[in-house]
Amino acid sequence: MTQFVIAGLNGLTLAALYFIVASGFTLVFGLLRVVNLAHGSLYLLGAYLGWSTWQMTESWVLGVVTAALAMAVVGAVLQVALFSWMQGQDMRQALLTIGLSIVIADQLLRHYGGLAYQMTPPEPLRPATPLTGLGISYPTFRLFVLGLAVLIAVGLWLLLNRTRTGVMIRAGIDDRAMLSASGINVQRVFVLVFALGAGLAGLAGVVGGTAFSVAPGRDVEYLLAALVVVIVGGMGSVGGAALGAVLIGVTQQYGLAYFPTYSYLVTFALMVGVLALRPQGLMGRAA
């Protein structure tokens, strides 16, 4: 029973992290139609930047803020300098991001080496919280990650549904040409969304680097996780990313707890199953 509860909580923590990564990925895809396969690299770059900042200033919060802002800038630059002038060429953009991710991963390896780093969260988040109803105690930081993901989900919902920018983004997802025709500077909205998505990846990097670790290969790991989550949930849908994240995170952890040998296969099998039966994803609209 305890194992069941802990695996479930671990699954939800992982799901929270997956959601933060995947929501940025899905927003960028939904509006810009860019499958950003360098999203994992932004995650890892953010994680390393956060780690360096934390090492220098000993402030975890500053690390998170630096990583998120720096990645937002990188995202905006990528959109302005590269993707804006090959719009509509999805495959070329996707391939380009593969090339970028390879270069970034290699340069990070050169600079930070192959060791794994971990960050410690600020003092109040360090101890374990006793969960009296369940008779166990659970790391406070992981509960914080859960809360953060919920906060981000609510924030994104408010942004998309309650603000003028959100209206523009949703209109752009439905019909870019029409949005542009109604006098909106679509390019500016694109840059904004790319910055937001990349910033979320950077933020997730520091959070993930604190809950787990920062190491080479994490970029691919989280990129694949984000891909699976978003495809299962439906590309371009933030709600779908949430659903997909919970589904993948929880199955992964239960798989790890109950049939460890083949647990890694479960996620991909789930993705293949969803794509084969419902190509647009659980909450995606028919393409």
Binding site: R33, V35, G88, Q89, D90, M91, R92, A94, L95, L96, I98, G99, L100, I102, V103, A105, D106, Q107, R110, D174, D175, R176, A177, V220, L224, L227, V228, I231, T261, Y262, Y264, L265, F268, A269, M271, V272, L275, A276, P279, R285, A287
Partner: protein
Amino acid sequence: MTPTPTTPSRRRAGPQARTIRRALLGGVLVGLLVFPLLAHPFFVLQIGAQTFVFGTVALSLIFLAAYGGMISLGQIALYGLSSYTVAILSLRHEVPWPLTVLLAVLVAATFGLIFGLVAVRTRGIYLLMITLALAMLVFLFTRQNDTIFGGWVGFTGVQAPIVGGVWLRSATVFYYLCLGVALLCYAAVRYVARAPFGLALQGIRDNERRMRALGYRVELHRVAAFVFAGALAGLGGVIGVWYQGAVSPASIDLARNIMILMMAVVGGIAYPAGAFVGALVFILLDNFTTTYLDRERFNTYIGLVFVVILLVAPNGLLGIGDQLKQAFARRRRGREPADGAPSPAASNAPATPDEVQGEGITVERRG
């Protein structure tokens, strides 16, 4: 070279251009044949054989992409399954080699069938991802399974057969074997592309709905293309495992998978010969960074080469010729009064990676 439907500009090539092209092709062929006589044995295998092994896998990707509009990341898994079949049959069961080869190709084609059946309903980026997921499934399964696939270690000590007293793996012999396999696959792709099946496949790539309305069975053609491409990758798997003498999950991991895709794109994803050009560029770069540059940073160099090619020559190295031809044509037309009509050169352009995906998600639809 003979015309391919993705490069219609070649169809109108005059007799003079055709002669030049034939001479060029003959020259390349002669060069390939005499290469082992002139080069150091190390290069014969390290450069020559490796290029043909990976080129064959890249060719199977290019076949699906250029003629079917489907960019598949599953080909490396089919290559691997073939290699594993060879290893298991020859090491554990001592099956005679012709039967081993046959079964290996059959296994790859069968899994090509399965991949095709799973992926057939998806298009464009989605097809890329579902095939990637399938390849990851195979990779993870081989890594986690000890009883059949030997887990993380895989198999070592796979020997190429001795035929008529000649060991097929000896440098020069193996080079010609790989060259033969590569040429066979290349010829098969060119033949299939012009056969009724290949023409229908290209019709489906260009306009699926019209082909369906004409009575073609779209799904069947797509799946069959996957089976054929699977067999090609399977042949690559046989010579690959004979070359390496070993196969393990690392032979089919994500990095290898992306490498095959990059080879295809660098060489030119719309041209079958691009597979081998791309593979050669990769292998050369791999070997020369070891000698002249920092070997550790190979990924940075190859990543930058890939990015630059995508930025300046999205049709790959083989596409540069067509790209220049169009640029000149555009300049020539620029002197004539513009009439505002869409430029005919645009419709004659060889397929870029995006056009290759056919009726993919480039088509914006309203929800």
